[in-house]
Symmetry: D2
Subunit: 147 residues, 4 copies
């Protein structure tokens, strides 16, 4: 019988708003905006567990993308207040998948997407060669709800 | 002796944050980001006095730009929390000037800029011809601190 | 025995370049840039067969997104000259899938993605309600190589 | 009588196009797009005289902004083909001013702006401290038309 604790991911919340310049001539959100939000949400999620942008820089860490996708369900308009709810759905050896739900303030789900990222380290800072690394268990644990 | 009440403008506050994708390979904010913020700050300022995006759309209002400028004083980095403090410095007959100070959470001023905009109205909605209009005194009064 | 002519899609080519502000502090392309390019490539592709932006506006046409995805294979750097090669892989009744290959000038494939879009029409121009429509055969034919 | 050769600046040309996502719900160009173009035009101008992005990186060079401004004269629409015509109007000891005229394919001037930039060098690559430097005469000469 397994004594493995069930994986129970925590959720990060990134508040955002649709601005005038995020919209296109159809009067709704220009879709790459959702990907900008997803990227910002992932950084905010890591910040929330102690991995700030400053720490990424100091430790030469990186999390480049392997792939990204998004399904658009309901069109957002200027001034809509939203939040991106992020969870890490899966950790591989050197990569991980972040799922993002984008929800309007009234609860309507606007979009849902995912990013697959690699955990990596620059030789000596941004601009220098970057190598993927095995994701430490200590990092994986940060995104798991404690029993 | 003038009985003209002194003009005392109110200040709008638009909170924002420097995101990963707002920065360039030098590791600091890519300067057009400041102009994106200034535009968003102006919309938020009008929203704060009752002129929401929805109202702009319903009344076919517009506020296109005549000019914009910005002085960059101190380089912002990823994750810096900032606010744009906006005041309408001058109302002309059909145009107005919004001054924006961009200040980091610790009080350091990062940039200061201004936008000159025209007050206008679309014939029948975005995409149709737009004409400038005399700015109503009722609107000017909304941006003046009451005695 | 089928007399159905084999479907042989034409390819659109959209030239682009990685600019300073398209890159992030890691010194490589910020990934939502690829989605901006894919969107521009689709518009350019339609323009190349006679469906210009002006015509979209005049006929109240729209092609909103259902979903988008991209796989990132090789990191682009500032000044890299690229092209997006687009084909319509599949037409459904009211939707279609555009496949995009993003290739650097030296032939290296940087990324490949797809967009699923709906064919639609605004009631009376951008901002008014939009309804999906059956894609006319005449449009489908424009993206098929003639025998 | 002065024997000083008259300064006769060369002009760089950066072709660009207004894309769907560069426009806002009013159906015209979102103004920070002009600043993105001006930045790209400056990089392209330096590339045209031999200072490529690769060389900037290799020699740890930088040209951060002091200020930027733009006057908007005529609204650009989706698909408009334009060019940014750039000249260096003035070289100071450590700074320089680039003037940009943004012109539509049919010759209509859409906007004109300027950027004031500092000539600088990173201690050891992007992300490390940057110091301004005296602009070498050899660089100034590159932007002057030869007699």
């Amino acid at each position: 019988m397994s004594t493995e604790p069930a994986f129970d991911p925590i959720t990060g919340v990134f508040p955002c708003q649709v601005h005038w310049g995020d919209c296109d001539p159809a009067g709704i959100i220009f879709y790459p905006t959702y990907f900008r939000w997803m990227d910002s949400a992932t950084w905010a999620f890591f910040e929330s567990v102690g991995y700030t942008a400053k720490r990424f820089r100091a430790e030469h860490l990186a999390m480049p993308l392997v792939s990204a996708d998004c399904q658009f369900k309901f069109a957002a308009e200027q001034a809509d207040r939203c939040e991106v709810r992020s969870t890490i759905m899966r950790f591989g050896g050197k990569s991980f998948v972040v799922k993002h739900d984008i929800v309007r303030a009234d609860g309507v789900q606007l979009a849902s997407g995912s990013e697959t990222r690699v955990w990596g380290r620059f030789a000596s800072g941004p601009g220098t060669p970057m190598k993927s690394e095995t994701i430490p268990d200590t990092i994986k644990a940060l995104f798991r709800r404690q029993a």
